[in-house]
Amino acid sequence: MSNMLAIARKELRSYFTSPIGVVMIGFFALIYGFFYAVMLQAFERQAMQFGQSQAPVDLNGDMIRPLFSNVLVVLLFTLPLITMRTYAEEKRSGTMELLLTSPLTDLQIVFGKFLGAMGLIAAMLAITLPHIGILFWYADPEWKPIVTTYLGFFLMAGCFVSIGLFISSVTRNQIIAGMATFAVFLLLWVIDWMGSFMGSTGMAVFNYLSITQHFEDFARGVLDTKHVVYYASVIVFGVFLTMRSVETERWRG
């Protein structure tokens, strides 16, 4: 456990001592701020129109959910940048040799790196909290969908990170790792489009594989174990693949 935390700490530290962490969080904040402002304006106008027609307005449905789905898209673009260096960099600089000859298990190394990346994501998502707090100050949104959305963010980011770790572990070139990771993420994102051309079975399969389909319920405030199981199994699978890949590397030398 302490070994794992040592790795996680080192990873997290490396994000913040190099400009990577600051640049990522900075630009994430910029983009998020832009979305927040636009969505708020749009919601305000909508609310005024609805106000005239006496129809109820839904802060969660009309403002927070679209905002969060944009956050998700931003995460899709930034996560490959976070995970691409994890293994590729260690292999290139030779520090992999230090990790693999220290009394650590492969699982401790993979999970340490996983936690480190999740730590940076947590820091990024923390940026979004004050803005949501402001909404609570001036209005009365439902808190449950917000909590489940954040949970969904973490689970989904976990899937991407574990897949990203695996891809990073098969190459020593960061650019290749980054591009391949982005491609895989995007395919997982839109894989359900393929389902619409299939029969009902095919559609069910592709819908199940789609990483976004499982996010829908979290965004609506529904906590379904089915989706948690899906995300958890993708995370475990990614970690498993990473461990195998490191082991193969050892055999091949």
Binding site: S2, N3, K10, R13, G94, T95, E97, T101
Partner: protein
């Protein structure tokens, strides 16, 4: 302390290490000698548990590196060929991280880091980023990392590579000091390093062990016959029959170079000192005796002899060169 049994490592079709076996006793310094690409690094990587062998086994500090990797790794310090440093960490941060993953108790961390920095003489760079260090300092920080958890076994892959002559002497001294408490295996392709630091040598070539012995025995093995180099101004005559006639001489080989004509390597049985008789034979002929000195075959000759293919010219050529130096 270290036991290697029938170790074989293949990368695809390439056999990097082929059925090698050797042992290292507690407190010993073993030199791992071989030309580049001989399989030194591969063997060390197996010993440190970085990669599993294709066949055979390795026992380090009482633990099989494949079956009990964590126990073996806890007792092994390893300096790879390129020091495994994180460029954006300072030396102190780096050593702190290493002490965490090597399981140094948190109470001892500060003092251990102080001790190893002192021993490897990197204290003055403690707050410098590893990426900004010179090659010599990097090498020493790498060594500091290997010593952190006070391991029983130290495995050093070319520990003096890239150091300046003064640092090389310091590092060799440090390694000699470490022996006793630690068992040291170091690889090198520099011969003087072996005779100066190691008690025993494993010579490896093309993945096979060609010799395991103490430095003295290996040098002695080379000197099965003693040789004398003479340079004669024979006034146009061929001095060879005369030299051959001296009692005790077994062979006379011309050893000329352009600027030193008239040179001969005169071999005799070990223990027979033929210098007086040779000199007498030459002088009584009225020839000029320009030079007369014993040539000893060094460890270098043994090494070349063992690691080059057995064409006599190939062996003789560099051997005579070194004899003239």
């Amino acid at each position: 302390m270290i036991e290697v049994q029938h170790l074989t490592k293949q990368y695809g079709d390439v056999t990097a290490v082929n059925n090698i076996s050797f042992t290292v006793e507690r407190g010993e310094i073993l030199g791992f000698l071989g030309p580049n690409g001989a399989g030194k690094t591969t063997t060390m990587r197996v010993l440190t548990g970085y990669m599993p062998p294709t066949e055979g086994k390795a026992i380090v500090a009482g633990y099989d590196v494949i079956e009990k990797p964590l126990e073996a790794k806890k007792r092994t310090g390893y300096l790879p060929e390129t020091p495994p440093l994180y460029p954006d960490m300072t030396v102190r941060e780096y050593l702190t991280f290493c002490s965490r993953i090597k399981g140094v108790a948190s109470a001892d961390r500060k003092s251990r880091i102080g001790v190893v920095m002192e021993r490897t003489r990197v204290s003055d760079m403690a707050d410098r980023q590893c990426g900004k260090l010179s090659k010599g300092y990097r090498q020493r920080v790498g060594l500091a990392q290997a010593l952190l958890h006070n391991p029983d076994v130290l495995i050093l892959d070319e520990p003096t590579a890239g150091l300046d002559p003064k640092q090389i002497l310091e590092t060799r001294k440090l390694i000699r000091e470490l022996a006793g408490d630690h068992t040291v295996v170091l690889s090198t392709h520099i011969l003087p390093e072996v005779s100066q630091t190691c008690q025993r040598v494993v010579i490896i070539n093309k993945g096979r062990v060609v010799a395991v012995d103490s430095v003295e025995n290996l040098t002695a093995r080379a000197g099965t016959s003693s040789a004398v180099y003479v340079q004669i101004d024979a006034l146009g005559a061929d001095p060879r029959p005369v030299l051959q006639a001296v009692s005790g001489v077994t062979a006379v080989v011309a050893s000329n170079t352009a600027d030193r004509p008239g040179g001969f390597d005169v071999q005799s049985n070990t223990g027979d000192d033929v210098r007086r008789e040779l000199a007498a034979a030459i002088v009584t002929r009225g020839w000029g005796l320009l030079e007369l000195r014993p040539t000893r075959r060094s460890l270098e000759d043994v090494f070349l002899h063992l690691t080059t293919e057995e064409t006599p010219e190939d062996v003789a050529e560099p051997a005579t060169e070194t004899a003239h130096e």
